[in-house]
């Protein structure tokens, strides 16, 4: 076997309680509800979905920034869910995160120099001078320059801040990076620089990425496999090419069709979903997608679908695919 599994997530659950008062029953929000996937070394695995579907929570739970409610997360032989705090802390120099919000993820009271040397200091890497050299070269790599060293985060634009965030994660040269919407705050031309940077770093250090994003064009460009999430569940996992050429789940289809066109003359058949993502505190019965699904069947309202395999490691959770293969094209023809 050539490919080594770096991270495997089994039946991961993360529930949040909302207390309703002393004698009332708590409301349980199933932010992440029983998801499983594996990431092999060197690949880029993407989580796609709309806001509130639990993709960020998944990322944070894998890093144990929040405790999982159930399930196992195995990173290179270590079960993260059971690891004590101190061991987890040392393990984090091998797994780092780039956060979603560049405005909130940098300490406003620290200069760039302090922000970037902190991970090296915490993990006791290098001496003082080498650290500074590292920081300077890292700044150069992410497209900032040396004169930014003694500035504070508020002096930067959102895009520049995100690059500092990326520099902070990459500076430890970890094996595994969870990138939570790393480029959604960046401009197109800067976005392409950062994507190139991430691809380059991946080649150089054999990095593995868990790439969380809602931008499908970026995902199509840089990832190997994609998991589509909806309301805390994975509805479809496939190789990136397969997913984009042959999406199976109705939600994936709608998501792909909602991507803006690239040329004004291009005509696109658009499936516009009605309504918003339902609240995870009160999810619909059966298949959670059924109130918005253009191809909903009666069974969808009552029964949650099982996951079925469709070859080439393409799996879908939808009732349309639990029947005979031949019925499929008719059942989901665009309305």
């Amino acid at each position: 076997m050539k490919q080594k599994v770096l991270l495997s997530v089994n039946n991961l659950k993360k529930y949040y309680d909302i207390p309703q008062g002393l004698f009332k029953e708590k409301i349980i929000v199933k932010a992440v509800d029983d998801i499983s996937f594996t990431i092999t070394k060197g690949e880029t695995f993407a989580l796609v979905g709309e806001s509130g579907c639990g993709k960020s929570t998944t990322g944070r739970t894998i890093l144990k920034l929040t405790e999982p409610t159930g399930g196992r997360i195995i990173f290179d032989g270590n079960d993260i869910a059971a690891l004590p705090y101190k061991k987890m802390r040392t393990l984090r120099n091998r797994m780092q995160m780039v956060f979603q919000d560049p405005y909130a993820s940098l300490n406003p009271k620290k200069t760039v120099r302090e922000i970037l040397t902190e991970p090296l200091r915490v993990h006791k890497k290098f001496d003082h001078d080498t650290r500074l050299k590292k920081v300077k070269s890292m700044l150069e790599i992410v497209g900032l320059s040396e004169y930014h060293l003694d500035r504070y985060p508020h002096e930067f634009s959102g895009g520049q801040r995100q690059r500092i965030g990326i520099a902070r994660a990459v500076i430890l040269q970890p094996d595994f990076i969870i990138a939570d919407e790393p480029v959604s705050a960046l401009d197109v031309s800067v976005q392409s620089q950062v994507i190139n940077l991430m691809l380059e770093l991946q080649k150089e250090f054999e990095l593995t990425y868990l790439f969380i994003s809602h931008d499908l064009s970026v995902i199509q460009h840089m990832t190997d496999r994609v998991a589509v999430m909806y309301l805390g569940k994975i509805v479809e996992i496939a190789k990136t090419e397969d997913l984009f050429t042959n999406p199976k789940h109705p939600y994936t289809k709608a998501l792909l069709s909602a991507v803006p066109i690239t040329h004004p003359k291009e005509k696109k058949e658009r499936i516009i979903l009605k309504g918003d993502v339902p609240s995870p505190a009160n999810p619909p019965s059966g298949c959670t997608f059924h109130p918005r699904c253009p191809a909903a069947l009666d069974i969808c309202k009552t029964q949650a679908p099982k996951t079925s395999e469709h070859g080439n490691s393409h799996s879908v959770s939808c009732h349309l695919y639990n029947k005979i293969e031949e019925e499929i094209p008719h059942a989901i023809s665009h309305s």
Partner: protein, 338 residues
């Protein structure tokens, strides 16, 4: 020739930063015709939002001023209006949708309280009349259960619903011009598709002009009739949307389009424009894009290019200089390949 609703001529905005003075807007000119959708594209810091704030008269008083140029709205110069006169205009004739639906609604007032403000001020409506009007507007933008929603607070709504509330707020007084500053940037793709669909529908129903500020070329391709591309406080290209996508002329526009992931092979290195947008204080003589341009000529560093227009396709680049091309045709080609 259609009527111009808004015309901006050589607008310069100046910010004071201590003793330093910077000009984030350096001579911007464009116009919007009646009933058309004009897209303004550019990266953050290129002056798109400052331009829109200048139109709305919302620039901070103490630190900024309009150094020169004028903004003509229905032949009335907005840059000379007093605060009081502006109040009559804002929300009535010109209205604006802001980028972040999360922060642009006041969290301590109900939706109804916020939405009735423009109606009470501009239209002198009674409370009950205003309420009726608001409910019908909320229904028009596709919000369910409008009668209850009017008494709810912003935090009870999702991002897409809040943006719909913002759109209904902007539409209440039936403005002639709506400025939408990145209306869908903070939203998910499926919600973005809904909102763009809504904006298209509303535009088709009324005779409103729309100025759509965005950095997303996909949104532009979908929505706009004409496009203005801005870079570092200047208009570098202006064209019909089809012309722009078929044959972008300015190297910056070309770079923007080529750097889209969908225009590159999967997993390949994306085309990217090297460097970053210069800060306003860093711009000296010559073309502002010269330091990032792949086709830079000697002339670009020394002289600021004027606007060259061919068949309504404006581009601010020396490569478009026909007289120059005729003389030095080979040289231009040579540099372009390099």
């Amino acid at each position: 020739m259609s009527e111009k609703i808004l015309e901006i001529n050589d607008l310069r905005v100046q910010f004071k930063n201590g003793k330093e003075k910077v000009q984030p807007i350096r001579g911007v000119s464009f116009h919007i015709n009646k009933g058309e959708t004009l897209g303004i594209v550019g990266e953050s810091g290129c002056g798109k939002s400052v331009t829109s704030l200048a139109i709305m008269g919302l620039l901070p008083d103490k630190t900024s001023e309009i150094a020169s140029g004028n903004i003509l709205f229905n032949n009335q110069d907005l840059s000379k209006l007093t605060d009081k006169q502006f109040r009559k205009l804002r929300g009535n004739d010109i209205s604006m949708i802001f980028q972040e639906p999360m922060t642009s609604l006041n969290p301590v007032f109900t939706i109804g309280e916020q939405l009735k403000e423009p109606l009470r001020r501009h239209k002198n409506m009674s409370k009950s009349q205003a309420r009726k009007e608001i409910i019908s507007m909320l229904q028009q933008v596709g919000l369910p259960r409008a009668e209850q929603l009017i008494d709810e607070y912003p935090h009870q709504l999702s991002g897409g619903m809040r943006q719909r509330v913002m759109i209904s707020l902007a539409l209440l007084c039936k403005p002639q011009l709506m400025i939408a500053d990145e209306p869908t940037t903070a939203l998910d793709v499926t919600i973005q598709a809904q909102i763009l669909d809504l904006l298209k529908k509303l535009k088709a129903e009324s005779d409103m002009s729309l100025m759509l500020i965005t950095h997303d070329l996909g949104v532009v391709a979908e929505m706009c009739n004409r496009v203005v591309v801005m870079y570092a406080g200047e208009v570098v290209e202006e064209a019909e949307v089809n012309d722009l996508f078929d044959s972008p002329k300015h190297p910056y526009t070309k770079g923007l389009m080529q750097s889209l992931p969908s225009n590159n092979d999967r997993k390949s290195k994306l085309f990217s424009i090297k460097g970053q947008v210069p800060r306003p204080s860093e711009i000296t003589g010559g073309c502002a894009f010269a330091n990032r341009c792949p086709h830079v000529l000697e002339r670009c560093v020394k002289e600021t290019p004027p606007s060259f227009t061919h068949q309504n396709h404006l581009s601010k680049c020396w490569l478009q200089d026909t007289s120059y091309k005729e003389v030095n045709h080979d040289e231009t080609k040579g540099t372009a390949i390099r």
